[in-house]
């Protein structure tokens, strides 16, 4: 038997699922081939871990904890706000309400802004006139004075 053939059947050989003839052929090959023998030993050790898996014992307080968890879930579900039907109805209402409120607020603020915009512009115009007259902050207003100084000196 070739190495490749043995390596294809090794797991079934370990599980004792092969016919007698096949098993004895593999056995004789393993006695001769170091490489296949190494693979067999490794696989046997690893695969046998599955036979030694210990059965777990549940925690003695498992039922108490489970019961608490179920109560907690039931309490939560009993609160109207967490009920899916409530959420299904409440969600679109809440979204529409927020949209309407923001629309109304937008219109009110827009109107307010329009009404005040004229007074605002006047105030700015008045203020800039006062400042430019007194402090020459406005370049156009200050031009005459600068020209007077420059031209006056030159003349």
């Amino acid at each position: 038997m070739k190495c490749s053939e043995v390596q294809k059947k090794i797991i079934f050989y370990i599980e004792k699922e092969l016919k007698k003839t096949s098993s004895s052929e593999i056995e004789s090959h393993l006695n001769q081939c170091m490489k296949c023998n190494f693979i067999f030993n490794e696989m046997n050790k690893t695969y046998s871990i599955l036979n030694d898996v210990k059965q777990l014992n549940p925690n003695p307080f498992f039922y108490t904890r489970l019961n608490e968890k179920i109560k907690e879930i039931e309490n939560k579900e009993n609160k109207i706000i967490f009920r899916p039907s409530f959420v299904r109805i409440f969600q679109p209402i809440a979204v529409s309400f927020i949209l309407i409120i923001s629309l109304v607020l937008g219109i009110v603020i827009g109107n307010e802004f329009n009404e005040n915009s004229n007074t605002f512009e006047n105030t700015i115009a008045f203020d800039s006139q006062v400042y430019s007259d007194n402090f020459y902050l406005n370049e156009i207003e200050g031009e005459y004075f600068e020209n007077f100084l420059i031209n006056g000196k030159n003349e």
């Binding site: 294809k8 090794i10 079934f12 050790k45 871990i49 599955l50 498992f62 489970l66 968890k69 879930i73």
Partner: protein, 189 residues
């Protein structure tokens, strides 16, 4: 108490009957979860989820299969969902275990032969479970239920909703794939 009687009592919110069910199947559910998750704490959390699901959906269970089959099916599904949900965490956890194992490796150098054996077994089981986890889902379910939970092919076929011959074929292919993966690891080393 028969399955039907037990179901009727649980449907009527009889806490005693539910406790009876939990006490009877807790160990089986825990071990099924553990055969997929390989972690006691996670398996306990998932078994709790299994029984919560049972309690919540007992009205939907028509009693066409045995309670045990229904419970096994929920356990397998919940465990696979848990694996899917925690895939990202698992990457970090495996990174953590690599670091821990490296740390352990250096610590173990000076320790006795006994702990060396433990370390080797840990390494072997990690390799084995990684190979098992990488199997296609149906092969993994069939193999785990048969090999790690000693379930008969008939029971597995009921849990998986497939024929007995499909279960045989799934387990055969699972073993072939497992063998291939393990041999590749040995050849690499």
């Amino acid at each position: 108490m028969s399955d039907k009687e037990l179901l009727d009592r649980i449907r009527n919110k009889d806490k005693g009957a539910f406790k009876h069910l939990v006490d009877n199947y807790n160990s089986l559910v825990l071990n099924i979860c553990n055969s997929f998750l390989h972690n006691f704490e996670d398996s306990q959390d998932v078994s709790q989820e299994v029984f919560i699901e049972v309690y919540k959906s007992i009205d939907k269970f028509r009693g066409e299969s045995k309670i045990s089959t229904w419970l096994y099916r929920i356990s397998v599904n919940k465990s696979l969902n848990h694996i899917r949900k925690n895939k990202r965490n698992a990457i970090f956890r495996s990174f953590e275990t690599i670091i821990k194992s490296q740390k352990k490796e250096t610590e173990n150098l000076a320790e006795s032969n006994e702990s060396e054996n433990d370390f080797e077994n840990d390494k072997r089981s990690r390799v084995l479970y990684e190979a098992l986890d990488s199997l296609p889902q149906n092969q993994k379910i069939a193999f785990n239920l048969s090999k790690l939970n000693n379930m008969k092919y008939k029971e597995i076929s009921e849990v998986m909703n497939v024929s007995v011959s499909s279960v045989e074929s799934l387990i055969f292919r699972a073993k072939k794939n497992l063998q291939k993966k393990l041999i590749n690891i040995y050849k690499e080393n």
